[in-house]
Amino acid sequence: MEIRSPDFAKNSSRALHDAQLQRALGNVKLGFIAKRRKAIDKLPEFERLRDEARAIKEHTLKHLDLYLEAYEKKVLEAGGHVHWAADARDARRIILDICREADAKTVTKGKSMIAEEVALNPHLEQAGIDVVETDLGEYIIQLRNEPPSHIIAPAVHLNKEQVEADFRRCHTGLPDGRDLDEPVQLLGEARAVLRQKYLDADVGITGANFLVAETGSSIIVTNEGNGDLTQILPKVHIVIASLEKITPTLEDASQILRVLARSATGQEFSVYTTLSTGPKRPGDPDGPGDYHVVLLDNGRSAMLGTPFEDMLRCIRCGACMNHCPVYHSVGGHAYGWVYGGPMGAVLTPTLIGIDKAGHLPNASTFCGRCEAVCPMRIPLPKMMRHWREREFERHLTPVVQRAGLGAWAFFARRPRLYHALTSMSAAVLRAMAGRKGRLARLALARGWTRFRDLPAPQGRTFQAQWQSGKRA
């Protein structure tokens, strides 16, 4: 997918002026936060479950190689194949090869952020394969030729009316006057259109929320059941997942599942939790004849042992973005690549480079709400700050900012000079404000005064007053 992260500032100001988008984002804010709160208030042991979920992932990451090998062994025993993809290009090649071998004309797909990360769809389409997204949100954005704007709700940037217009545009052959006012009618229509595609598909591709080393199973959670049809009906099932999706046992996976849906949508559990282990066995009523797992690294193993290792605990619940004031303001597309919000601000620079994604870890108020709600207790602000430190070290910080900071730090490190400077500033600002008590414009603080007044200093600085003992 095209990288537009360097244009974050431009993307975000466009987003701020997009009335449709702003209306849709209003719903994110209200819906997700309240539902999560309600689910968690009902579960007194939630905080303990978070600790346990974190401990499971920490343990797993410490022994990642061991569990990955154990997982591979189990998949092979079950009659499946495992492919190791070092990067996005590898993953695309492997999957296209499997599709070609199956002589695939149509591929159905469950929701997968990893497929987005490796830009799978355009690659398969270029090879003449018809790729059909089966998750409703993904299906909608596929019709619009847009990337997802949220990791669990890919079309959350859209309003119902926009979806209705897309359906009328794309589902030709249906009566023009049909009623599509209600969401359930839109859902019904998408279902009917997709039904035939499920039956036509030669290959089904799904992501994975968990890979279980103990059994060689992959687990997906969905609310629509589309993943089940995607992986059961076609003759070939491909699972694409990144390395860190591994968990040691089924018990571990179910532990983490207890925090996943609650954090994501406020559900106790997603509607469907589906396990798949290898191809159809003799006597099974259904299932694919061939079962492949593509394990993607794409820079993840290099994060082990670095300050960014904690990010590998992420279970892609989306709670961080659902609670982020910046995400609420600009939506997911402004981040300019696959992952948005706080998790994207940390992860994107590791995947596409800090030189391209430099804005992302900077565009945060450090309000800390992401970390407060992250079920895996990932210290997101701390890692964003790590990125800022790397930028600073590599002199990627904008020159003006760096110079300003340098000048400020020069004085901050010299209290006597600093106090002389602040005394002078207090006098100057106060004189400029006159009796008004505030400034509507100040050249040196244009970023501030563009949108707000600047309160003027009350008078002499505290230090000056304290020193002269005036009020001590």
């Binding site: 975000s12 790397r390 207090a426 505030r438 501030w448 949108f451 309160p455 505290f462």
Partner: protein
């Protein structure tokens, strides 16, 4: 540490209160002294270093932190009228130095005795009520660092409840960020503006006459926005109300 009834407190004035609103410092002084503390204000303080820290400049941050540690080490407690600055010292200073060094140990010792003002009064000195009056309806914004790093939520509400005549009207989403974020508000000014505009809507909806919070950064941001918008309550630091020092103009308001 002299754990007598008159602990020696070093007041960390904060760069914003020093320059823009010294009355917050004097309110803090009064509150601390009324609570029986001996208070000093070291001259060798400038800022906690957060602007450099959040810009990724660890070297300058560490230099500033050393200066603060030197200046405040002798006190029983360090108290700041800001959750953000107190959080910087209490939660981040130790991270600036290599573990097992003497500097790290000193940073940890300072961190352990550093508190935000209202939290210090309520939780450390155990002040339960204040003998002041404020006949107004107020609403209270929970500043992010104080709330999430230091757990400040009930303390200001508890003390405000003891102020005669004061009524608290809670706003919706009092725990949502105001969009200040230090340099964020000038670097990503339009996003910051969008966030603060949402915040000030919630503030006005309460019908409160006064907006309070414990951090001048947030307060100046919200006051400046409402003044630009031309409507909204007056804005003050919570310490001014708790100390009964509300005679002067509110933040950004004209004299007299």
């Amino acid at each position: 540490m002299s754990l007598d009834q008159h602990p020696h407190v070093g007041l960390f004035i904060t760069c914003l209160a020093d320059l823009f609103r010294p009355s917050v410092g004097f309110a803090a002084l009064k509150l601390l002294r009324d609570a029986g503390c001996r208070v000093d204000v070291p001259r060798a303080q400038t800022c906690c270093g957060q602007p450099a820290y959040n810009a990724g400049d660890r070297r300058d941050t560490a230099a500033i932190a050393r200066q603060v540690i030197d200046a405040f080490e002798p006190f029983d407690y360090v108290v700041a009228p800001s959750g953000s600055c107190a959080g910087m010292i209490a939660k981040h200073y130790p991270d600036l130095f290599d573990e097992k060094t003497r500097e790290h140990a000193r940073a940890q010792a300072l961190a352990a005795k550093t508190h935000e003002l209202v939290q210090f009064l309520a939780d450390v000195i155990n002040v339960e009520a204040l003998d002041v009056k404020f006949d107004k309806t107020v609403t209270y914004h929970d500043s992010c660092t104080g709330l999430r790093e230091l757990g400040i939520r009930d303390q200001p509400r508890r003390l405000l409840a003891s102020v005669a005549g004061l009524k608290l009207a809670e706003m919706e989403e009092s725990e949502t960020c105001c969009g200040f974020g230090g340099m964020f508000c000038v670097k990503y000014a339009d996003i910051s503006d969008h966030i603060v505009a949402g915040k000030t809507d919630f503030v006005r909806q309460t019908g409160a006459e006064v907006l309070l919070a414990g951090d001048l950064g947030c307060l100046m941001n919200m006051a400046g926005k409402m003044q630009r918008q031309g409507s909204g309550p007056e804005v003050r630091h919570v310490a001014e109300v708790l100390a009964g020092m509300t005679d002067g103009p509110a933040i950004g308001e004209a004299d007299g």
